[in-house]
């Protein structure tokens, strides 16, 4: 049986359209970031400049506060990812393996946190954190971001735990392990893909967060990348090359993380989505 060519060609073409749509903005970002200033306007719509330069990157890395922003964001995102993954492993395990009276309420609470407008919390959180000295501090951001990401991360981890047969823990307990030892030595090592996915997901989410960072941070010392970039944009909105160079730099960690973990993330969401 010979398959007709037309559907296959149409399928590949459609996929190509999606790829172009997905990648074009990023490509443009990259293109402008390597275009020398004198060509920026004269070669505005050309797909690639006749001459490329890394001056913008050099400037951003040497003469601006972006390295500080980058470092701050890295600290905040990495800490948040670690804190959330640790908490979510425990609570996800509880939801996956125990049936207990408050389980229903915990799930309901976590779902509720996914529903209400987080902007509603901006003012109260500011009021609570400010006497504690946690505004304008990276620690404050880590605490806030951790809480925001724990519910989804819990569900994500739960779906990974659900995929591990209960027999394994039971076998471990009969072999002489306590429940916690079984969790640590048998279940956690098997959940490494889930842990990777959760780390990556939370890292990306924390790396992207803008509104609370804007609200809780002022001044450059504790500013994260989004805040820094936005301040930069509103102050020097004509230095497109530099801004886009900074944008490419902001994209790198999140993009890398994503490419590393996207397979696991899809797998985790698959389990979660199937359960609905």
């Amino acid at each position: 049986m010979k398959q007709s060519l037309l559907p296959i060609v149409a399928h590949r073409l459609a996929i190509l359209c999606y790829i172009v749509f997905a990648l074009f903005p990023l490509f443009w970002l990259l293109k402008v970031s390597v275009t020398p200033n004198d060509l920026l306007y004269s070669e505005g719509v050309r797909m690639w400049p006749s001459r490329t330069t890394f001056d913008h990157y050099a400037f951003v890395l040497r003469h601006s506060a972006f390295p500080t922003f980058f470092k701050n964001s890295l600290i905040v995102s990495a800490s948040t990812a670690v804190v959330v993954t640790a908490c979510a492993s425990l609570s996800g395990y509880a939801l996956s393996r125990f049936s207990f009276r408050a389980k229903y309420w915990i799930v309901a609470l976590m779902l509720l946190t996914q529903m209400f407008p987080l902007v509603m919390l901006v003012a109260p959180i500011f009021k609570i954190l400010s006497p504690l000295g946690l505004t304008n501090s990276l620690t404050g951001l880590v605490v806030v971001y951790s809480a925001f990401n724990v519910p989804f991360a819990t569900f994500l981890m739960q779906s990974f735990f659900d995929g591990i047969p209960k027999d394994l823990e039971e076998a471990a307990m009969i072999d002489g392990a306590t429940k916690f030892t079984a969790f640590r030595q048998i279940i956690l090592p098997l959940t490494l893909p889930g842990i990777a996915a959760t780390l990556g997901f939370v890292f990306t989410a924390a790396w992207s967060e803008l509104l609370f960072a804007l609200m809780l941070i002022n001044g450059n010392d504790a500013a994260t990348f989004p805040v820094g970039l936005l301040t930069f944009v509103s102050k020097f909105s004509v230095d497109f090359g530099q801004m886009m160079a900074a944008g490419v730099l902001a994209l790198i960690p999140a993009g890398l993380f994503f490419l590393l973990i996207q397979r696991y993330l899809v797998q985790g969401l698959t389990a979660g989505a199937v359960k609905g």
Binding site: P165, L168, A171, I174, D175, L190
Partner: protein, 352 residues
Amino acid sequence: MASIEIEKLEKSYGHVSVLHGIDLDIRDGEFIVLVGPSGCGKSTLLRMIAGLEDVSKGEIRIAGNRVNDLHPKDRDIAMVFQSYALYPHMSVAGNMSYSLRLRKTAKEKIGAAVAGAASKLGLEPLLERRPKALSGGQRQRVAMGRAIVRQPKAFLFDEPLSNLDARLREQMRAEIKKMHADLKATSIYVTHDQIEAMTLADRIVAMHGGVVQQVGSPLELYDRPANLFVAGFIGSPGMNFLDAAYLGGAAILKDGSRIAVNSPAAVQEGSGLTLGIRPEHIVITTDGSGMRAGVELVEPTGFGIILHLSMHGLPVKVFTLDRQALALGGEVTVSFPAEHVHLFDDEGKRIG
């Protein structure tokens, strides 16, 4: 090794009760098989002995000590799971030695124990492999190895062979039997396969609906089933059951046939009962005596033939080794030898 006593054991989930007062004494070194259809509570009972399910009521004692509230890890028992439950991230040796490592056993001792178990099960060349790289039969062996390394007080088996193909199952069955003869370890084995139960058990515990139906040696259950359930469950093809009335020292079938029985003492004249006879005990007569029956279906098994007969509308199965040419739609005559006829009263209990 140890004895296990189970006393008035009950299990319920909320309002649903799954075990209704189980009493069982398991002697030191005995091989007990819990058998019954799915949902009969046999696995729950096993898991309660292991400590994986809470006890709702009653008591479990291992070696004379009450273990109701003891964590599985403190009961010193080993279990082989249906899914094998091998730790995927550990090698075969790692799987087998995990329990000893948890107990902080000395390295040399662990090495010796693993090597000993591996040689018994022929696992030496596989010790460094991961479970993923093993065949089903090999995984089964590793699961057994993991259990015997430790020399626990008792072995629990939860349908350990049901994921294997028929040939391998036969082979592993023999190996388990050999191993038990060798180690003399108290073993409790759960299965729904009555052949496994018959071949392996010192004593079979037949369960149904959360109640123990009969406890006894395999032949006791085969020869003198205590009730209709056991009679029907043990043996393949299953026992024939025919409604009958007891009149004048014989059972009268619905079609009026008279069947002589070894007259049981406690049957009232005229009372209704169920007559049971195993297909392999029905005799096909050649001299024309006996009851006439039509041949409805012929199933050759190679070893023998299963005949589906109709005695005036009553279905009867016969197993015979005779390879006689029996035509579909033909007629045969059969007789029920009195010594092989079982009688059950209207509550399904054995008479006599």
